[in-house]
Symmetry: C2
Subunit: 449 residues, 2 copies
């Protein structure tokens, strides 16, 4: 209730409790029948054993949309928990109730300030999230929000005993505000319907699917978490292969893919221009990109000619990777370099490694040019997909805060940013592969007609 109020939710809120008179300054009703109107949705947080009777009461007054926050059902592995969950299912089916949960954080929609969980204020955007873990879904919304990527609707589905991920996916497919869909799932009930739907939706809106419980141990943990059966891994592998859903395997990979697919237009190819400083960085970044399946091609003759005019022979290197520490300080120069990348026909994607002032680099008093750079890239409206990496994850709070500040600055200008080149390269590979597959699919379909 406090979170609804703090988040600025504009709808009417009715606390229901048989013992209290006032909660959070609001009049309390003893039961659903005493309410002055039928609410749009009920959020149920009474102990598990009372949930079935609450559902009966909802049905009686015609309240069909229900979120059950309460845990203590199938996921406990107890007979009582399983029985209670079965009751929820049978009541819901009989009465036509549309239930989110139990054991889930429920709906989240920043545009209407429906943010009973997650960061407040929520960042509104074009992402749809279907999560079978409240904490993981919250971490996603908080992380991407801090980097300028907002959510249209998220739902933490818990045990998903009535409405399942497939239902939410179908809904989000038709929601025009949603352009990218991120899912964290531990199990799916209607496998075939899910499979077909992912395949369809993924052609229109990238579906970034993280399946928890890919390992046997993980699957066992999933059973105690949301009570589901993870299913055969071979089936999931087939799903990824045949639907083209983007296959991620960790929080970081999921978040990075979401940011990339949300912010960037389709790339023309996978040829990356690596812009940074430090010879060793250039070498290892090339290795990492190649290892992820990206290309790091030679620059065109014209670009090289122009680069050679500004890049000194010693202590730097004109080429791809570009080793030119001046870009860290001189926004106008970095803009020149980016222009070269935009114009070079052999380049599809630009990655800027934005090293930040560090003690070890002797330039802690360096002026920061990130704001200018962000403005420049934004003004180019992604002539070519352009992303940044800013790393800062050790034990130095100042460095860490500076890194986060620069990342936020870039993110809020609509530029994807990552805390390491490894993570950038992996995300860009997903990004490229998604569109490459889409184009091949289109061609195949044309051939068939």
């Amino acid at each position: 209730m406090e979170r609804f109020q703090k988040g600025g939710y504009q709808g009417r809120l009715y606390p229901i409790n048989p013992n209290a008179k006032e909660i959070c300054g609001l009049k309390v009703y003893p039961d659903l029948s005493s309410l002055p109107e039928v609410p749009d949705m009920a959020m149920v947080c009474v102990p598990a054993k009372h949930v079935p009777s609450i559902l009966e009461e909802c049905a009686r007054i015609g309240l069909r949309h229900i979120h059950i926050l309460t845990a203590g059902f199938k996921e406990t592995g107890t007979e009582e928990g399983k029985k209670l969950e079965e009751q929820i299912i049978s009541i819901s089916n009989e009465k036509g109730l549309l239930v989110i949960g139990p054991n889930g954080m429920g709906p989240y929609c920043p545009s209407i300030h429906l943010t009973a969980w997650g960061a407040i204020p929520g960042v509104s955007g074009t992402l749809g999230v279907i999560g079978q873990s409240g904490m993981i879904t919250q971490r996603l919304t908080e992380y991407i929000g801090s980097l300028g990527v907002g959510v249209e609707k998220a739902v933490s589905i818990g045990n998903a005993s009535v409405l399942d991920s497939t239902d939410f996916l179908e809904f989000m497919a038709g929601d025009e505000k949603i352009r990218v869909i991120a899912m964290y799932l531990e199990s799916v009930k209607e496998g075939r319907r899910f499979f077909r739907l992912v395949s369809e939706v993924n052609r229109e809106k990238p579906v970034i699917l993280w399946k928890g419980g890919e390992s046997q141990v993980g699957a066992m943990a999933a059973a105690s978490h949301t009570g589901g059966l993870s299913g055969e891994q071979t089936l999931w592998d087939a799903l990824y292969r045949q639907t083209g859903a983007i296959h991620v395997r960790s929080m970081e990979e999921w978040m990075d893919a979401v940011i990339t697919l949300s912010l960037l237009p389709a790339p023309r190819g996978k040829r990356v221009f690596l812009v940074g400083g430090g010879g060793g960085n250039g070498v290892s970044y090339s290795d990492i990109c190649i290892n992820e399946g990206l290309d790091v091609p030679a620059l065109s003759h014209d670009t090289m000619e122009r680069l050679r005019q500004t890049v000194p022979l010693a202590g730097a290197n004109a080429g791809n990777p570009l080793d030119m520490p001046r870009i860290f300080q001189d926004a106008a120069y970095l803009a020149e370099v980016l222009e070269l990348g935009y114009e070079d026909p052999s380049i599809d994607i630009i990655v800027v490694d934005r090293l930040i002032p560090r003690i070890a680099f002797h330039f802690s008093d360096m002026s920061d040019s990130t704001a200018e750079t962000a403005q420049f890239v934004k003004s180019k409206k992604h002539q070519k997909p352009t992303v940044f990496t800013v790393d800062s994850d050790g034990g130095d709070p100042d460095l860490a805060a500076t890194g986060a500040t620069l990342r936020a600055m870039l993110g809020k200008a609509g530029i994807p940013v990552y805390p390491s080149l490894n993570r950038a390269a992996r995300a860009l590979a997903h990004f490229h592969n998604y569109y490459a597959r889409l184009n091949n699919t289109s061609i195949e379909r044309k051939t068939l007609n």
Copy 2:
């Protein structure tokens, strides 16, 4: 010169310059012959074309230890650069000069405040570093230093035209203060000698070897960086396989392996106890560990009995992974859980996922118990290897700073800490595999005798 002074270097410093009278408050000498004594080492930073004559001058006064900082040699790809580098080599060979560089940052030794590069004050410790990139070597020392891991000696070898990585490795093998060796290399000259030496040294001191230029593009970049030929990748693969050197492929993997091998005693096995909060985290962390080759076994009967007494049935889960958010706040309870892990015969390694207060988790006012926890783990002197993960790498400066502070606190208590479970799992896999191989080798050797 400023860095030497700022770092508190105690030895005598002689600036040499034909035009200046005083530099950094020190009397300047016009040339080497005017010096009042023969220095232990020369650091050469005159333009490339003057370097050969300086070497001649060094030889004349009997100064044999030389570091050439200057760039502009073979790595430029020009005829002039190549010729100058050949001159350096022939003068050095003829006169018996021991040269570090050119095009490298040279030696670094915090225990004697020889920190002309890298963070000041340097953190003194037991690591030896041989780096063929100044920036990468600096980032390592700064990163690990912020997490409590110090360096005994580091050397940035640049083009390594006279003394090569093999020479430094041989030296570090005999340096009793050095217990772990980290290398970033782009090329090696005496392949066979290097191969044999890595094989020998790695049995006594873990050798963590990151080879830049594993891809063809990376190898080309390496040629313009340090002028070396990367060599056939199949040879490097054979080297890793046959020597058992720890094979890392990125900055992050290198740093994490260094921290783990530096701080932890050998593990008994690879059975991990995952301690954290959040059901989805437990599921995905299990997947990640299994994927890295670690085990996440069921806890013993006794441990489970005792856990069940404190872990509620709903909203948490007793087991491995342990999902129990109380550990984030209650240091005494976390200590109890760790004790269970130390006593459980089915567990070898403990990983604590230390989620930090976040906006999204609604407990930003949570009291922090990290200091107490660090003290507890330290007092246990690693009964079993115990590591922490603290993630905080988005665009929120407060969260980032808090994360770094907690990581530093743990690191400075001698506890390995990582910014993600992915990175922890990879590092622990390297850690386990190193010792597992060592033991098998020992057994084989015993059998042969």
